[in-house]
Point group: C2
Chain length 339, copies 2
């Protein structure tokens, strides 16, 4: 690996002699964007003159990356982090990059330990995945590699964050029901201790408003992210407003409970009542009877986008701030009579 005992030419030598920064020298030698043609030619010329022979580490510095990205997660159910991880890997190209996932369990000491471990192993960047949509503390400005926050945004405006647009996602759900001719639409929401719950409620109300409709029952039912709550809320709802013709549920688990009680009470789905969930968690949606229409958060796309942001930041093209991704509806038999 070493080039013998005499000191080898380094990228720093090339940069100094060419009168550019190390980052620019790296980009120039690797054909990256953001370097003027004459600068690139000068750097390449200097590198040839110095017989610059990058070793393995220098090569990786040159390429701007070591081929490894750290993914810190506090979502140990893996519902968010694993699809995001797959998207990151797909974007980087699996044959060239390894993503190392570390479990922080929402514990800042553990998180710092993992950050140190990853940095000491020369990762090119960090992706921090949260399990809630509330902002989380920034890892700070002092890190030697770029960081992208995914799902939970950073609380610092100079960081790069990628999140789901829950308000717009819920509006899509309501629009889907309205398009299907539904008029008496109820919303069974999740745990009111989550920002996502309120964002989805806000999106639902805005879309109902825009369609000139008001909430069936006149209020949103708040509870928890469970099937049991979906069952209980649906029983209440049918008692209060027997003419309800559609129910937007804040999660697929809630929707599964809702479907069960509707069936128990002899309601035909979707003819009498349409049901739509949120998350598009396939274990729950595809196995439902009928199959459950749901709002998909496009987590793999979120991962791909995070990888792209990280790439750009490694090339010193940062995009600070919070970027929101749109959800999409996956239509199945619980809202549309498909068979």
């Amino acid at each position: 690996m070493a080039n013998g005992s005499s000191r080898a030419t380094t990228l720093t030598d090339v940069a100094r002699l060419a009168g550019v920064s190390v980052a620019t020298a790296s980009k120039a030698l690797n054909g990256r964007a953001g370097v003027r043609t004459e600068t690139r030619e000068r750097v390449v010329d200097v590198a040839k003159r110095l017989a610059f022979q990058p070793n393995a580490l220098a090569k990786s510095l040159l390429a701007g990356r070591t081929g490894t990205v750290g993914l810190l997660t506090s979502d140990m159910e893996g519902r968010f982090s694993l699809p995001i991880m797959m998207g990151v890997e797909d974007a980087f190209g699996a044959a060239r990059t390894s993503v190392f996932l570390c479990d922080a369990r929402g514990d800042s000491i553990r998180e710092q330990h993992h950050v140190d471990a990853l940095l000491s192993r020369r990762v090119d960047g960090l992706i921090v995945v949260g399990s809630r949509t509330e902002p989380r503390p920034s890892l700070g400005r002092g890190l030697p590699v770029p960081v992208v926050y995914v799902y939970s945004p950073s609380d610092h405006p100079d960081d790069m964050s990628l999140v789901i647009d829950n308000v717009a996602g819920a509006s899509l759900a309501i629009q889907h029901l309205v398009t299907g001719g539904r008029k008496r639409i109820a919303h069974i929401a999740g745990d009111p201790g989550y920002q996502a719950t309120h964002d989805r409620a806000r999106g639902a109300e805005a879309a109902l408003d825009a369609a000139g409709l008001s909430l069936a029952c006149g209020r949103i039912h708040y509870g928890s992210w469970t099937e049991a709550w979906g069952r209980g809320a649906t029983r209440m709802l049918l008692a209060d407003e027997p003419a309800v013709d559609a129910i937007f549920c804040g999660s697929d688990q809630i929707a599964r409970g809702c479907l069960e009680v509707l069936r128990d009470q002899g309601r035909e789905i979707p003819d009498d009542v349409a049901v739509i969930g949120f998350d598009n968690w396939e274990v729950l949606t595809v196995n439902a009877r009928p199959e459950l229409t749901s709002v998909d958060m496009r987590l793999e796309e979120l991962g791909r986008r995070a990888a792209q942001r990280l790439y750009e930041a490694i090339d010193e093209r940062m995009t600070p701030g919070v970027e929101m991704l749109h959800c999409q509806i996956v239509q199945r038999g619980s809202t549309i009579p498909l068979n």
Copy 2:
């Protein structure tokens, strides 16, 4: 980090002068087991004489570890790998060790790439987690760190593997039903393309045999790992053998479908029919109506055990072969009238 320009004393120097292997020198200086007292004293004496000052890397070599373990998985639903990872971390002590999870997706080229990436980052060992119980190809003997195979055993007898005892787990399920007074017990099995399916069927038949019972319907129903199959099989089963009083399902998904059809057909659970699943996947078991009794594979314990095996192997105390862990029953309302 460097000790200046003069060559520093290394652990190899200490070992050579003390007349022991580097591994023994390391163990002696770290107070590990497996070193005789007089050997330890000699090594410590030599280290003092040479003013042996381990640097950061040497310290980690000395301690026998760098504080990082790689976990290779092909289970990107995370159902097996994430609980196993948590167990590994708990055993190692989160504050001292980072576990890096890499996603191989069942692709051997991708797997090799991740192995290289992890080894070049000086992990102390590898844990390879499969998503099926069939043996998998060994990573081979040439690796510089120990490897433990978890859930899927290695196909090489010299490797260390830790797996679930599916045969015994299924027997436990049947024994639980028999203890509850059930006589006409059916088994709805999963996908016949999986070894786990056959192991569970074998365990169920053995336990029925031991109890002097035979299978309700006279045969096992094989299908897939889905709720839809659970529904379909239960309908068939009730038509063939209306007096069935217990159903052992090959997975919790199957059991959820089974519960649904039993309820649709007016059977009381557990009074008329008891139902038990396999996996104890809480999303499905705790949200079922009634809550679902299930066979728990103790995946976190599997992870803790894997960490322990890896520790021992780092200390050169290998335990080659396949070790099987026992499952346990988690009792809930679907087999025992709890409320």
